[in-house]
Symmetry: C2
Subunit: 276 residues, 2 copies
Amino acid sequence: VDDPDAVEFALCWDQPMGVLERFPNLKCISSLGAGVEHLLSDHTRPEEVPLVRVVDEHLKQGMAEYVMHGVLEHFRRFDDYRSQAKLSQWKYLKIPHIEVSGIGIMGFGEIGRFVAYRLADFGFNVSGWSRGPKPADQVRHFFGSDKFNDFLNCTDILVCLLPLTPETENILDTRTFNQMPKGAFLINVGRGAHLVEDDLVKALDSGHLSGALLDVFREEPLPEDHPFWSHEKITVTPHIASVTNAATASIQIIENYRRATDGRPLIHQVDVGRGY
Amino acid sequence: VDDPDAVEFALCWDQPMGVLERFPNLKCISSLGAGVEHLLSDHTRPEEVPLVRVVDEHLKQGMAEYVMHGVLEHFRRFDDYRSQAKLSQWKYLKIPHIEVSGIGIMGFGEIGRFVAYRLADFGFNVSGWSRGPKPADQVRHFFGSDKFNDFLNCTDILVCLLPLTPETENILDTRTFNQMPKGAFLINVGRGAHLVEDDLVKALDSGHLSGALLDVFREEPLPEDHPFWSHEKITVTPHIASVTNAATASIQIIENYRRATDGRPLIHQVDVGRGY
């Protein structure tokens, strides 16, 4: 950038810490994705400049696909059938009815609600949990920390779709796992820092949790020698659950650029105090 | 059976050939499942006795789950991600948009239509094909043998849910595969006899088809030494896509028993000439 004074709009993903204070005339800072923790954690960020994020239908759809597959993979025991097939073993395995198995979605914002409704439409027994009240006409919804245990008690498959904030960091820990029924399964598509890795390994090794599907990690790419790669109850995917679609996201980014330079109200603005 | 004359209702699955002619006073023969090919192929079956089958919501739902998982598994390349994970490989793989990939459902009866609508509701681009016209408000529908190639031409993932009749036996053959785009994928949840096994292996080995998920086979259990078990592009499951649910199916079987003994019209009666 030759002339930092001329920059009015910053579009960021994992930007170098401190870079934003170099631009004195910013009117808007936009995340390239749905998450904004990389912006909120940069304490040199000019506080008076509004933050926006991308709310993309394609991103929601991709997430619903990943979670639907992960839920069916576990619920219908396709992992066990694959192991049997390696031994040429023809054996029927019992499964519960779809209405019996409880799917719990943590995080009930734009993405969480979309995923919850898609699973419920398909026949699953879905509950959602979030910090505050939310519209939830199609599924059971719990909110607030005092309802967290009630939510976990009826959750056989837990899907983390929370934003990363100081309050949600490390939320997937032994205390949380212990509230879920024995044999429960974890899908983390939030952020790596939601999960206390050692607590997960302990819960899997003790048999309390039956398995985990993880798409996000504290360090990405996940280091080659990380034990998650080879743990037999953990499935690792390389942060592919859903990616921002350039064709659809660019439309709302351009819209916010126009609104910011015209001084009009922005869309998908982040509540900095709340963290999302 | 001590007194064959006293038997008025026969409930059958893979009955010994010829057994039905031993009961002179049958008023109804019911299949235990959705298929009736085991009854139609028994030429000693008393022709004047009406045939009925089970049309079970749980059976449809189970099939939708299996097909949804199989479609997502292939479409989202989870098989490739599993191979990468074995090598601790962190690499994003490109996939098409969900609207671009064409899902073709062969067989558009009770089950086929249910599965097609569930996939369409979820966002997939779904077409159906059947012998005759059918109600199809939510997806594109082709019918008749002269539209079969048009249907196949736009099918990237083919799902066979046909009933087994003399007309549909061996329908999954080289001619059919060649009409599908290169790289297409096959899911057979119909019957084993729909598939010409050697033609599938040829299409996979030439690279024209990219893979197959098979739940039904000419011989079940699939013999331990059958090459499908170990073919790297074939996934075998042991006829578990969907099973008749006793709790729900028994209600309609009892209903037909009452109707048959009272001489009232039956439900889910089979058109013997059509074969389903």
